[in-house]
């Protein structure tokens, strides 16, 4: 089985940030591998270890994104492709989906894996966009993957329960981080990753120019989330405070 995993470099949501005149300013050095993609890589590795195969990762992003690719290679992926952009084009899911499609259209693979969403934007669109553009059967929000006689068996977390879906290859799937605990690269992995190949590709060589990619959604400004009014904290004798709060829920908050 040949896996392509699309991985994204995202800002660390734990990094301190500030909002200045509607602009979100984050510590530019604190970039990480999107957690959902880490799970996608992990699962691809597990399956290829089990059934044989190859895992290749592709990442669109600034020069710094090569670190994100290294991380995936250190986890065990075999090869990386880095589609280099300046990183500040304000691309949206649609732009990235178009780039990924251009990159993947003439590639050979069985499973195209993506994260169910970007940790920073939570859009959750790119996966099904790419699948549609490449005319691949797909499913989203996978919490488990298996391979059965050449088909991909996906356990999908749906609204009411878990759907077991069988996809013929080639197919696309977007992964939830509830699927597994991504491995933390060990020293051997980190050292090995340095010798693994990373192709750097520019948009032109994919036959696209930035103008083809103009996003039709853009974030015009950021603001702090509406603050909740300060709450009350009750400490002391469990029995008393428990009853007191129960009372307040009835009399003060009247939600009982």
């Amino acid at each position: 089985m040949k896996f392509y995993v699309c991985i994204k470099m995202v800002p660390d949501v734990y990094a301190p940030f500030q909002i200045k005149d509607g602009e979100l300013i984050m510590d530019a050095d604190r970039m990480v591998l999107n957690a959902y993609d880490a799970s996608a890589v992990e699962e691809a590795l597990v399956l290829s270890e089990k059934h044989g195969g190859e895992v290749e990762v592709v990442c669109i992003g600034s020069a710094k994104a090569s670190e994100t690719i290294r991380k995936a290679l250190a986890m065990g992926a075999d090869k990386g492709s880095h589609i280099v952009t300046t990183g500040d084009e304000g691309f949206d899911s649609g732009s990235y989906a178009n780039i990924l499609t251009a990159f993947l259209k003439d590639k050979e693979y069985d499973v195209l894996s993506l994260g169910k969403q970007s940790q920073d934007t939570d859009s959750g669109l790119t996966g099904s966009m790419v699948a549609e553009l490449l005319h691949l059967p797909y499913t989203t929000n996978a919490v488990g993957l298996e391979i059965e006689n050449g088909n991909l068996i996906v356990k999908r977390q749906g609204d009411t329960g878990q759907e077991i879906i069988e996809l013929p290859t080639p197919c696309a799937v977007t992964c939830s981080n509830d699927m597994n605990e991504p491995r933390i690269p060990n020293l051997k992995g980190i050292m090995a990753s340095k010798r693994k190949p990373i192709d750097t590709i520019d948009l032109a060589s994919l036959g696209i120019s930035e103008s083809d990619l103009s996003p039709n959604s853009k974030v015009v400004s950021f603001e702090h989330k509406p603050a909740r009014k300060a709450g009350q904290k009750f400490e002391g004798e469990a029995d008393e405070i428990a009853r007191e709060v129960a009372q307040l829920l009835d009399t003060e908050a009247n939600v009982i």
Binding site: Q18, D27, D29, I184, P185, L187, K188, I190, R195
Partner: protein
């Protein structure tokens, strides 16, 4: 053996990074291992990196757009505090604007990350571009020894071998103890705890409030009321658009006086002078970390052993004689010297203590050990009750009288001073102090 290194550096702090950059520049094959997710991730401390060594490591760093440092120091202040007043020695000089700067304020998570970028560049430029590594998010569990000599390290199940190991693990020097260079018991009175808040302002507000110009910055140390009777002191450093405000406190004294660092920091912040300085700021970071007192009694028995060198605060190399905390610059210099020793050892192909003791010698000949030795008395002096409480109160009391104009006959300053002295200490005490100070400072 294929992946045997010349050296494994444990710790990606100032000492480890300085050592590694020096190794790379000398074409050594090495491995730098940092526990944190990235260099700096685990480093809460932040303050002034004093001296010129950074310029040796990163020539013309000041020309770089948005380098890892925050501001250069051209304005210094030492402040005595009592409950209501502050009396400061204040020095600002154009002389300090010249490069290489004599001190730059850094925020470690950013600075270390930037410096490890420089290390990567150095690696890429070296003969071992493909064979030397920076490995983050990896914790060294053990230094591997073979008949008394270090032969590598162990992390998890994996073992990695090297001719030498530089331990630059910082003040929490578990590995240093493990290899037997330091007793497991270091008396708490030789240790301090540092706590710090990073407080953000609008950059313009910050620059106006502290009279900063371009990237110039100020450093302010505080003694007296700041620590509410607990041995230690306070500091304020200006970053790009934040300040670092904090205390360094004696752990033993904290325990005895049953005070919490966090409460003391809030106490410090209520002082009118400090309150005015931080008005309108937003706390964006809070952190606490152990820091050595600079008391040489806390130093490891020795800083070398067959195949092993100890650098930076792992060796308790730190100086705090009141006018500044010097830990990062000591870390940087010791890291460089340790690496240079390894380079010599490689040339001689002898990594035994016979060669490695050169490190100790180089350190002794450097300002690091010279200052640590020369200023021990000052270190102790700073921690006496007289210096901690009496002097600040006395000075502030005198200041209050001296600067008050009452439309009444004004007594002579000398009289004021004597009055203040009598009130807060004895003349004799002061004479002793003055005498000690003359010797120690």
């Amino acid at each position: 053996m294929e992946d045997k290194f010349d050296c494994i550096v444990i710790g990606g702090g100032v000492a480890g990074l300085a050592a590694a950059i020096t190794l790379a520049r000398n074409n050594m094959k090495f491995l730098l291992i940092e526990r944190g997710e990235f260099a700096g991730a685990k480093n809460v401390s932040g303050g002034v990196l004093w001296g010129h060594d950074l310029a040796k490591l990163v020539p013309n760093y000041w020309e770089e757009e948005d380098a890892g440092w925050e501001r250069y120091i051209n304005h210094r202040r030492l402040t005595f505090m009592d409950e209501q007043s502050t009396f400061s020695l204040d020095f600002k000089s154009k002389h300090f604007n010249e490069t290489p700067y004599s001190g730059v304020v850094v925020l470690r998570s950013k600075f270390d990350n930037w410096l490890s970028g420089k290390l990567q560049e150095a690696i890429d430029a070296s003969d071992y571009a493909m064979d030397s590594f920076i490995a983050t998010n990896i914790k060294v569990d053990q230094v591997l020894m073979e008949n008394g000599k270090a032969i590598g390290i162990k992390t998890g199940e994996d073992e990695f071998h090297a001719d030498s190991v530089i331990i630059a693990e910082g003040v929490n020097n578990l590995l240093t103890r493990q290899v037997g260079l330091q007793d497991n018991y270091v008396p708490a009175d030789h240790m301090l705890t540092g706590i710090k808040e990073v407080i953000r302002f609008d950059q313009q507000v910050l620059e106006d409030r502290f009279q900063l110009n371009g990237l110039s910055g100020m450093s302010n140390e505080y003694v007296g009321w700041a620590t509410d009777g607990v041995e230690g002191g306070g500091f304020l450093y200006t970053n790009r658009d934040t300040i670092s405000l904090g205390l360094v406190l004696g752990i033993k004294d904290l325990r005895e006086k049953k005070k919490s660092p966090h409460d003391l920091l809030n106490h410090f912040k209520t002082h009118p002078t400090v309150a005015d300085a931080i008005k309108g700021g937003e706390i964006v970071e809070y952190s606490a970390h152990v820091v050595s007192s600079g008391d040489s009694r806390a130093m490891p028995k020795e800083l070398y052993k067959d195949g092993i060198l100890i650098a930076g605060e792992a060796a308790n190399l730190l100086m705090n004689a009141g006018k500044a905390i010097q830990g990062m610059d000591y870390a940087m210099r010791s890291g460089i010297l340790a690496a240079e020793t390894i380079v010599t050892a490689k040339a001689k192909n002898d990594f035994s203590s016979t060669t490695l003791k050169e490190y100790r010698k180089a350190l002794d000949d450097s300002y690091v050990m010279k200052d640590i030795n020369n200023f021990q008395d000052a270190v102790h002096l700073l921690h006496t009750d007289t210096m901690q409480n009496k002097v600040p109160n006395l000075v502030c009391d005198f200041g209050r009288q001296f600067f008050t104009i009452k439309n009444e006959p004004t007594p002579k300053s000398e009289k004021m001073l004597l009055g203040a002295i009598k009130k807060h200490a004895s003349l004799w005490e002061l004479l002793k102090l003055g005498f000690k100070a003359r010797k120690s400072l």
